[in-house]
């Protein structure tokens, strides 16, 4: 299986579908609509890529997640819950505990939030804080010199993935907090390895058990099997200075990747290969 670039959404500018300054994160809802958070709003695109609508966020959003009829946006010190029309339903305001929320994974009443400021992951149940995740495995916290801690839900197995950039690996945790397994190592010669100081920077679970990750310097995407076997990579689509390329996948197998420099969302399709 390999990726094929098929479309570019949004961009930097003044038009309704564009972002003025910043694009931070992307997610896909249950109807394959693309949600992009940046500036101080969430923009929604139809499954075919046409701009649909946007709604404001209380603060600058750093991450977005969708589940059922709900949309969640992570900000500095808080996480806001919206309905599909963008109406604010409630906010987890936990500034004493939460820093910059750069990744979200939501399943039912469980919400997991990646906290870049404190290099940890918080678990909430019905909006009530439960625990920090990863402390036993990472006694010095998650190591993220790239400046962003990213996670992705694997809904079918009640697990989520973490891009642990300095350790050059992807880690899998149960929603209840236990480390299940991990894969990846530093290396510059084998494309299966992660290069540079801190890669992969972002991660997303794909349908059919694949995992996509993004790297920086140079910016690229890689696809692995669920147990960490390298499948393919895609280079040359992003601005060379792009880093922390956020990822999300829809139910059709399309992968959406942000280019924070150009404020675009690059759309990829999975293609089966004969090998």
């Amino acid at each position: 299986m390999k990726l094929r670039h098929i479309q570019t959404l949004s961009g930097k500018g003044e038009r309704p579908e564009q972002f003025h300054v910043r694009l931070a994160g992307v997610a896909v809802d249950s109807e394959n609509c693309v949600l992009a958070v940046g500036d101080r709003e969430v923009k929604r695109f139809n499954p075919d890529g046409r701009f649909d609508t946007s709604f404001p966020t209380p603060d600058a959003g750093w991450s977005v997640a969708a589940e059922g009829e709900s949309i969640w946006v992570g900000m500095q010190g808080k996480i806001s819950h919206f309905d599909r029309q963008g109406k604010l339903l409630n906010t987890i305001d936990d500034a004493s505990r939460l820093g910059m929320v750069s990744g979200l994974a939501v399943k039912g009443s469980v919400l997991v939030a990646a906290d870049t400021t404190h290099r940890t992951i918080h678990s909430y149940h019905d909006a009530i804080w439960q625990r920090e995740i990863g402390r036993e495995a990472n006694t010095r916290g998650f190591m993220i010199p790239n400046g962003v801690l990213d996670i992705s839900l694997e809904a079918a197995s009640d697990t989520f993935l973490v891009a642990h950039s300095q350790k050059h690996r992807v880690e899998r945790y149960r929603l209840t907090g236990e480390l299940v397994d991990k894969f990846g190592r530093f290396g510059a010669e084998n494309p299966a390895d992660f290069g540079g100081c801190c890669n992969p920077t972002n991660v997303s679970a794909l349908p059919a058990g694949f995992i996509a990750v993004s790297e920086k310097a140079p910016p690229l995407l890689k696809v692995y099997t669920a147990d960490g076997k390298f499948v393919s990579q895609m280079v040359g689509v992003f601005d060379l200075n792009a880093k922390n390329i956020d990822l999300a996948a829809d139910r059709r197998g399309r992968l959406y990747a942000t280019d924070p420099v150009r404020c675009t969302i690059e759309v990829f399709e999975q293609q089966a290969t004969s090998t």
């Binding site: 190591m143 350790k167 540079g196």
Partner: protein
């Protein structure tokens, strides 16, 4: 030669002599006034520092090779508050080199081995990657070649390492040879020695 012509000749010669004398005096005074001037590197011009230029093949070594001092007055400095303290620092290791048995790259970036890598705290025996490292630059070894600066900058690194003119080492030449050789006009005269942009650790104020 008539009296009129002689007078005119003497008058013009005198005017020319005065002009030459005044000009020379102005040049000498100007040079004296600028003799103590300091020089600084404009980060938005220096090819080693400015964003958007990456790759070891693009490193400019003019600061290291052009200074009149045996070891250039330009040195690399690491601002520790910005440093990611990475296990595998792209300014320390050549991250494109092959991996050794310890899981680390086998080559270093600095040709003079001027960067020292020390672990912060105890090494986690169960997970050696579970450590932060401090990178300090030995300024007696650094010659300001800029290789580490090129590798540290965003997006590969965090840009904590930069090149600076060490005013305590600079001879404040009026005609700086680094400025003459700088291909990007990044080495610029800044007049009397400016205050440091950031107070060094341990300094009051």
């Amino acid at each position: 030669m008539s009296d009129t012509n002689r007078r005119e000749f003497l008058q013009r010669t005198g005017q020319a002599a005065c002009a030459v004398a005044l000009g020379s005096t102005a040049i000498v005074l100007g040079r004296r006034a600028c003799a103590g001037d300091s020089w600084a590197i404009a980060p938005n011009k220096c090819i080693n520092i400015r964003l958007g230029v990456t790759g070891a093949d693009k490193v400019c070594e003019a600061c290291a090779t052009s200074c009149v001092l045996p070891l250039s007055a330009v040195r690399a400095v690491n601002e520790h508050s910005l440093c990611g303290r990475c296990c595998i620092c792209p300014a320390y290791f050549d991250v494109r080199s092959s991996m050794g048995p310890d899981g680390l790259p086998t080559k270093k970036v600095c040709p003079r081995d001027a960067i020292k890598r020390t672990v912060i705290g105890d090494v986690d025996a169960n997970d050696p990657l579970n450590n932060f490292y401090e990178y300090t630059i030995d300024e007696e070894l650094c010659n300001g070649c800029g290789r580490c600066v090129m590798e540290c900058k965003d997006p590969a690194g965090l840009g904590s390492i930069r090149l600076e003119v060490r005013y305590d080492r600079c001879l404040h030449c009026n005609q700086c040879t680094i400025a003459t050789h700088c291909p990007e006009d990044a080495y610029t005269r800044v007049g009397p020695q400016p205050r440091p942009a950031i107070a060094l650790e341990g300094e009051a104020g």
